[in-house]
Amino acid sequence: MLRVNNLEVVYQKIILALRGITLDVPEGKIVALLGSNGAGKSTTLKAISGLLAGDGGQIIDGSIKFQAEKINGITPDGLVRKGIFLSMEGRRIFKGLTVEENLIAGAYTRKDRINIKGDINKIYEYFPKLKTLQNRKAGFLSGGEQQMLAIGRGLMAKPKLLLLDEPSLGIAPLLVKEIFQNIKRINEEEGMSILVVEQNANVALSIADYGYIMENGRVVMHGESARILADKEISEHYLGIGKEESGNNKIFRRRQRVIW
């Protein structure tokens, strides 16, 4: 469905953020894109959704194909119309608008305006909390509620491919679980393909079908999520999942040095 091929991105014409990244999102699947800070995850999502220009970024090589059509160079609103929707990092809901207005804003590019009311109710079904807050200004919501709203707003656009940038950022672990279960449910019920960028590798891989691990603007590892989770070396080295002692041992060994 989405194929990113050998993509290179620079910021301000000098900082090379992506050094030839290649990844695939198959129809109806959840793909997780993992990695540490500064690995290039968010840049990848912004490149796909055409939002690089606002940050001074530029694609210098490679291609992005969506349903076999080359899409780099299309404007952000054109991409939303084609069915790619990015739910940006840090939620970015419209603070001065009410919850309901935020949801309507998500449906901005849709032609079938009569169905919007029904779809809003569907969002309230996924996230019952939002219904009770529907007339509140979104800026007054808690972080978790804002994240639900940000995902709901994405669903209102009825995209074929939903890109989620760090849906767990700044949210309590219990709520993170709930939000990810909802993401899984949305994927199953709506058949929506989802590409999710996460720091919290464990929770992302628990719902994803496939995982990519990025480092320094490259994909260093990819595979079925079950395989990544099972592979001890990958989990420990790249994702910080794994036994505490093994890590401690290494630190201990390094600490044995000459004491003055």
């Binding site: 419209f94 603070k95 590019t109």
Partner: protein, 294 residues
């Protein structure tokens, strides 16, 4: 008592026009966070065109007004395209500086085309004053009040319920997030500049009908700045209520205090009010504080 009411009515009428001109400021501020300091020139551009159509080409008022609004919309679009859009990713202060330059340019153009003398409109509204409970009001005053109220209602509905209104508010809130919704920031900017130019032209035509027009009228752009600050820079309702408040206070000061101090207070009062407001309510009466989560 009659004197008081007369001052009040005058204040309301002048205030309604202040509100209308202030609306132009507010619309552009809401969408882009920039102040359009050429707003005063937008205001005088309209009545000059309208007057030219009516006197030189003998076009009836309503048709002339329609053509005026059309041309003003085009002026707004052209300004957005040539001045604002190239600065889209530049800091807001650059846009404000550009509008200062634009204001000189437009003022020069007005001087060049229409000269410096004051021109009066041929009578458009009925001349016989209306008597409301002992207070005498000229119809043009009444009309300007009605026009402003109608426009206020239209704009409130437009911003609350229309698709473009929602997009304008969303872009004002978070530009990048709005474009990730598929909203075209360029389209929203073009729409607001067009609407602002139309509103300014309506205000200008009303003033022109009351006082006649000359190039110095552009200073209304500065006079309404206190209005906008009093009402809150980003509030449509605030602009209108601020307009009424400043208009009334100005007339009251002119009526009651000017004889005591020997005149001139009318021009100063708005700015005194602004100082007080800024000290007590820095965001204006209806301005949004901005929601900050800590």
């Amino acid at each position: 008592m009659i004197f008081f009411l007369q001052m009040l009515i005058n204040g309301i009428v002048v205030g309604s026009i202040y509100g209308l001109v202030a609306l132009g400021f507010v619309l552009i501020y809401r969408a882009s966070g920039a102040l359009n300091l050429a707003n005063g020139e937008f205001v005088i551009f309209g009545p000059y065109i309208c007057l030219m159509l009516m006197t030189a080409l003998k076009v009836p008022f309503l048709i002339a007004l329609f053509i005026t609004l059309l041309l003003s919309a085009i002026l707004g679009l052209v300004v957005e395209r040539l001045v604002v859009r190239p600065l889209q990713n530049a800091p807001v202060i650059s846009v404000i500086m550009a509008t200062i330059g634009l204001s000189s340019l437009l003022a020069g153009a007005v001087h060049m085309i229409w000269g410096h003398s004051t021109k009066t409109f041929p009578p458009v509204f009925p001349q016989t004053p209306v008597n409301i409970g002992g207070i005498v009001v000229t119809p043009v005053y009444l009309w300007s009040f009605i026009v402003v109220v109608v426009l206020l209602i239209i704009f409130s509905i437009f911003f609350k319920y229309s698709k473009i209104g929602l997009a304008i508010r969303a872009v004002a809130d978070d530009q990048q997030a709005a474009s990730s919704m598929g909203m075209s920031v360029k389209f929203v900017y073009a729409a607001t500049w067009t609407i602002a130019a139309i509103v300014a032209a309506i205000g200008g035509v009303l003033i022109g009908n009351i006082n006649g027009i000359n190039p110095t009228m552009a200073s209304i752009g500065l006079t309404v700045l206190p209005v906008v600050i009093l009402g809150g820079l980003d509030s449509v309702l605030g602009a209108i209520i601020g307009g009424f408040a400043i208009g009334i206070l100005q007339n009251m000061a002119g009526g009651y205090l000017d004889p005591l101090v020997g005149g001139g207070l009318k021009e100063v009062v708005p700015f005194i009010i602004v100082l007080l407001v800024l000290m007590l309510k820095p965001h204006g009466l209806f301005g949004s504080r901005g929601i900050e989560r800590v």
